[in-house]
């Protein structure tokens, strides 16, 4: 599955990109700026998950379900098992979201288009309702997350940043390996012609289910990392429909052209949000909306298409 993958240009560029972001964030930039990089890198994972679904024309308006579920899995593991190890945290977040995605996938894989989108939204609202009511998880106030550790030592902000970079690189490798595989190529094939895929002997629903679980895992991982980075989980910033909306927003803004696009888009989004909020606390949503409109009109392929235009080594689509 991973044969020769480190030789692929997409991965090499991706690793370089993550290195630069992490170095900028840890050594050069002031903290508020570096936070934008750290959050953008983490949430980019969820956007990547959304993008993988999107390539099959499946748009989830409720992906905060997995993002929040991953984050709350970290919170619960801390509360009941005392887990603060950062490796365990991420593994728990990914596994929890993946499991939930596996179960719900049996239902969602039967739906397409607006039904898929709305059903996803409905599930995320159920989770929101449950969490807002759950006293033992702090209901609407949420819970605080203690600093992450690694092998028993406290990790610190820089350490966490490196770790996030590491997880992102692993995810890039995995996502690329999946998309270049036979199964991954079904991604676009299904969007193009489901009947043909069935007559080639492969179950469309199964292919979508696999993709859905991968997507859930990525979103869950993002939630787990964000819980650790923010030191806090709560339903409004993790599971509310507006969080799902933001993820969809960033996916459109970033473009589907390349697996790096979600990270570029997510970092960009953190920046415009911070700036917009600072300059126009009353009208920051308007600025964000305006940005999206500008991108849709002038860069229909998303931010990534801008990179492609100026890219010295013209990229293949992957």
């Amino acid at each position: 599955m991973f044969k020769g993958i480190l030789k692929e240009q997409t991965i090499q560029v991706g690793i370089g990109f993550v290195f630069i972001v992490v170095l900028l964030g840890t050594f050069i930039l002031p903290e508020w700026m570096s936070n934008n990089f750290m959050y953008g890198l983490s949430r980019g994972l969820a956007v990547l998950g959304l993008m993988i679904l999107w390539r099959t024309n499946l748009v989830s308006f409720g992906h905060a379900l997995y993002y929040g579920f991953g984050a709350y899995a970290v919170a619960m593991a801390q509360k009941y098992l005392g887990v603060t190890d950062v490796f365990l945290r991420v593994i728990i977040a990914i596994a929890a979201a993946g499991l939930l995605g596996f179960v719900l996938g049996f239902i969602l894989r039967r739906y397409r288009e607006i039904f898929f989108a709305m059903l996803s939204l409905a599930f995320s609202m159920v989770l929101y309702g449950l969490l807002a009511k759950a006293e033992f998880l702090g209901s609407t106030d949420g819970m605080s997350i203690s600093p992450s550790t690694m092998f028993g030592f406290e990790l610190g902000r820089f350490g966490l940043f490196y770790f996030i970079g590491f997880v992102v690189i692993l995810s890039l490798i995995f996502a690329h390996a999946y998309l270049r595989s036979s199964l991954g190529h079904l991604t676009t094939a299904i969007m193009d012609n489901e009947i043909r895929v069935e007559y080639l002997g492969y179950s469309v629903e199964k292919a979508i289910h696999i993709k859905y679980v991968i997507s859930a895992c990525l979103a869950g991982g993002a939630g787990g990392l964000m819980a650790a980075a923010l030191g806090q989980v709560d339903p409004d910033s993790m599971v509310l429909w507006s969080v799902s909306g933001e993820l969809v927003f960033v996916t459109i803004m970033a473009g589907l052209g390349n697996i790096l696009a979600p990270f570029v888009g997510a970092i960009f989004f953190e920046f415009i949000r911070t700036y917009a909020y600072e300059f126009a606390p009353q009208a920051w949503q308007m600025i964000i909306g305006g940005t999206l409109l500008a991108i849709i009109f002038f860069l229909p392929g998303g931010l990534w298409s801008l990179f492609q235009k100026i890219n010295p080594f013209k990229k293949e689509k992957k």
């Binding site: 599955m1 044969k3 020769g4 390996a177 999946y178 270049r180 595989s181 036979s182 199964l183 991954g184 190529h185 079904l186 676009t188 094939a189 969007m191 193009d192 012609n193 009947i195 043909r196 069935e198 007559y199 080639l200 002997g201 492969y202 179950s203």
Partner: protein, 248 residues
């Protein structure tokens, strides 16, 4: 020629809310046979193909393949047991190139389980793919996006994608419709010779009687959902009912 029966239908019937599209279809096909299915528009040819390949569930009756009941199976199950098809309106991946189409088809038929997670463009598969592209005379177009191709090219690709699944029996729904007169025989020469070589049983729907006469061992003529004649081409094309309801 082998004489084992590969396909058999018993009292096969299909109706759509009152319209009877297939009635009392009883056929028996021997391994290696090449059969032409003829009939006017709306006679029920496509419905027949759709029932055999699992696209439509018969209302009643049964289908046996190699002695096993396969009535109402799913399309992908049909593919797995070697019952494959092409389509009247080509079902290919329009947004992809010719080679990508064929690569997907080949990798799904040759790989399974975790091998599906390997990169699609491995050298061996790619070479095999080129061989088939050459065989079907679509090598020059291999990097063109399918939506830019002519009908005839799409038909060929559609058939090639069905054939790489190593079918035991192949049903082709109007392989030459939309294909120019000059291309028709070329396409059928390519397809039929490839299939004869592998001993594949073929049923193909065809409107062009020259093609039928030239390639088939036997003709099944459909009229209003029923088979009105089942005979070798010489005999069938002279049959009174066939002349009246199919050719007339």
């Amino acid at each position: 020629m082998a004489t084992t029966e590969i396909l058999k239908t018993t009292n096969l019937q299909k109706s759509f809310s009152g319209i009877i599209a297939a009635e009392d279809i009883n056929i028996s096909v021997k391994e290696g046979e090449i059969i032409g299915i003829i009939g006017a528009n709306g006679a029920g040819k496509t419905v027949f193909v759709n029932m055999i390949t699992g696209y439509l569930k018969p209302t009643s009756g049964s289908i046996e393949f190699n002695g096993k009941n396969i009535t109402g199976i799913k399309p992908r199950e049909a593919t797995h047991i070697g019952v494959c098809r092409s389509f009247q309106v080509s079902q290919v991946f329009m947004s992809m190139t010719v080679k990508q189409n064929l690569m997907i088809a080949m990798s799904l038929s040759k790989k399974s389980g975790s091998a599906l997670l390997d990169p699609i463009d491995d050298d061996i598969l790619s070479k095999q793919c080129d061989k088939i592209l050459k065989q079907y005379n679509i090598m020059k177009q291999k990097d063109l996006v399918v939506s830019t191709l002519s009908q005839g090219m799409r038909k060929l690709l559609d058939i090639a994608m069905a054939v790489v699944g190593n079918p035991k029996i192949l049903l082709l729904d109007e392989p030459t419709s939309g294909v120019s007169v000059e291309e028709k025989f070329g396409i059928m020469d390519i397809v039929i010779s490839a299939l004869k070589e592998s001993g594949t049983t073929v049923l193909f729907v065809e409107h062009d009687m020259e093609i039928v006469e030239r390639y088939v061992d036997r003709v099944m003529a459909f009229y209003q959902g029923q088979i009105i004649c089942d005979a070798p081409p010489k005999q069938a094309l002279k049959d009174k009912k066939v002349i009246q309801y199919v050719l007339g």
